[in-house]
Symmetry: C2
Subunit: 360 residues, 2 copies
Amino acid sequence: MDTLNVELGDRSYPILIGEGLISRPEAFAALSARDVLIVSNTTVAPLYMRALRCALGVRRCVEVILPDGEAHKSLANMARVLDVLIANRFGRDCAVLALGGGVVGDLAGFVAATYQRGVAFVQVPTTLLAQVDSAVGGKTAVNHPGGKNLIGAFHQPHLVVSDTHTLSTLPGRELRAGLAEVIKYGLICDPALFDWIEARLGRLLAKDPLALAHVIRRSCEIKAAIVGRDEREQGERALLNLGHTFGHAAEAATAYREWLHGEAVGAGMVMAAAMSRECGLLSAPEAARVRQLVELAGLPAQVPSVSPAVLLEHMRIDKKVLQGRLRLVLLRRIGEAFVTADYPEAALQSTLAQHAGAAT
Amino acid sequence: MDTLNVELGDRSYPILIGEGLISRPEAFAALSARDVLIVSNTTVAPLYMRALRCALGVRRCVEVILPDGEAHKSLANMARVLDVLIANRFGRDCAVLALGGGVVGDLAGFVAATYQRGVAFVQVPTTLLAQVDSAVGGKTAVNHPGGKNLIGAFHQPHLVVSDTHTLSTLPGRELRAGLAEVIKYGLICDPALFDWIEARLGRLLAKDPLALAHVIRRSCEIKAAIVGRDEREQGERALLNLGHTFGHAAEAATAYREWLHGEAVGAGMVMAAAMSRECGLLSAPEAARVRQLVELAGLPAQVPSVSPAVLLEHMRIDKKVLQGRLRLVLLRRIGEAFVTADYPEAALQSTLAQHAGAAT
């Protein structure tokens, strides 16, 4: 069992990474709550709920099983989970545990953030995307028809238990979606990681346990360091949104039904690289490497089903709009990203025209 | 204009207290947001919205006017306000402003806490209760049919503007409800304030501006000091819940329709004093003084419409239940409250039997 700490003063917490952790009581030893609400979905619960409940031992566990998918990360389902907590008379000393991917984690985390103004939260991520990204860092949210993650809170988990064995049952499409976030870490600050993924993409796609363990560990290290320095996204943390402004817009424009989040991020990173090239920041060969790795990873590189105008419309209600100006994360080179609102509007328009709708 | 600071490091903020502040642009000078969502209700908006919007000057203001009353402090209305923010494309740099009493402030504050994971929040309290209590300290929440304030967040305002002139239009019943919270401050830590209220109750009930300004200032000082030492209610802040565990249960048992919050707190303080007497903590004369002041203030001293059993049932789902044991704020004397879960169950039962349902 590999342990990594997210350093946030009195809100610090460990990330445990290892094979088979879901079944091991010692992984949950730090969890003092006697009452645990487990939030999961119809895909993951049949696979891992029993093992998890065994590991949780004598604690009183109540389950809420949601339908699977981003479309269900709604205020309505958040209210449904709150109803269960209240119906079961859970006190302020209970814990909410998310067993599943990013959707379950984000929604359960928002419930934990708001139930009685905040109760303990445990993440047990079962997708690559959740293990490398969404389960770490304390962002919780639900979607609104008007935009993704528009309603939420910062609420750090008390514990993250990443069982790499759960990736064995992960569909290939989900695995690739998770790789998008791993590629992102390389792009924003770790060129060696980017090279590593390029060289070992086949092993990652074949679910080689050692290769996956390496990228999970490295991704969590990078994210933990950034979150430790900028928990509430006043500055540096915004780099983690590389590809997300484009990606969120694509998700919202398709009502969260067509894309997995990581797929949208894949296309978003290609667009961010193309726009960085368009602005004369990124070299053509590096922009091409980004596109190539995204495509080789089996991720989309464009948004065929949405027109550029509709995509732009959705980008404009993104959380990253400040004083009416949309901020974007762009690249100077592979391994060096930065946040800016200072770019030619024409470069954005041209990038959208080349990657969305009729472009394809 | 009197200024009082709540000291919370980088979340410190001023409370401005004065006559006619709503109409004065300088009261809002610290508000940098250009887009302001004003949340108010059908009672308050017709009285003060126009003056407030003039004072806010060139800022883009959008209004949401809710029905008046505790029953509307719901997750459904919170969603409604979020819809308006999103429909108007408000960015992360907007502000949410609450113009009204505790219901408007709690709900608007919870919206501000969760919209885009937190935007600026301004409180413009127009009731005595909000000015002395709910607008200060950062507790936000909505009610659930299963209990009051069960869903919420800690989110400090950036600014509190208390215009004492608004109390001139406040119905007497609302004024008395606010006095309950003022009496509470005296009971928990300021015997001189309790004496002061006893001596000048007539002036307060007659809305003497100087008397009101004194108790508002003193109440805010006490609350600001306690919140500054214990923002998230890990300890001392729980004292502010004196009378609230009994009171919330009475409100919930009557579906938030029969009682004003302050009325329920009035009855709750009488019960807390009676139980403190029952436990041999508070002297009989002091318990009698508490009951007498509550009654002279025109507040209820018991809960005739709810049976003791139903009241207890509602108390058991209060946020103050820890490890299955209900914590209560009790009194050693007037001006000295403490939190405890160590009391004879019989004392609680007997207190409820004497103050609820058939007792009357």
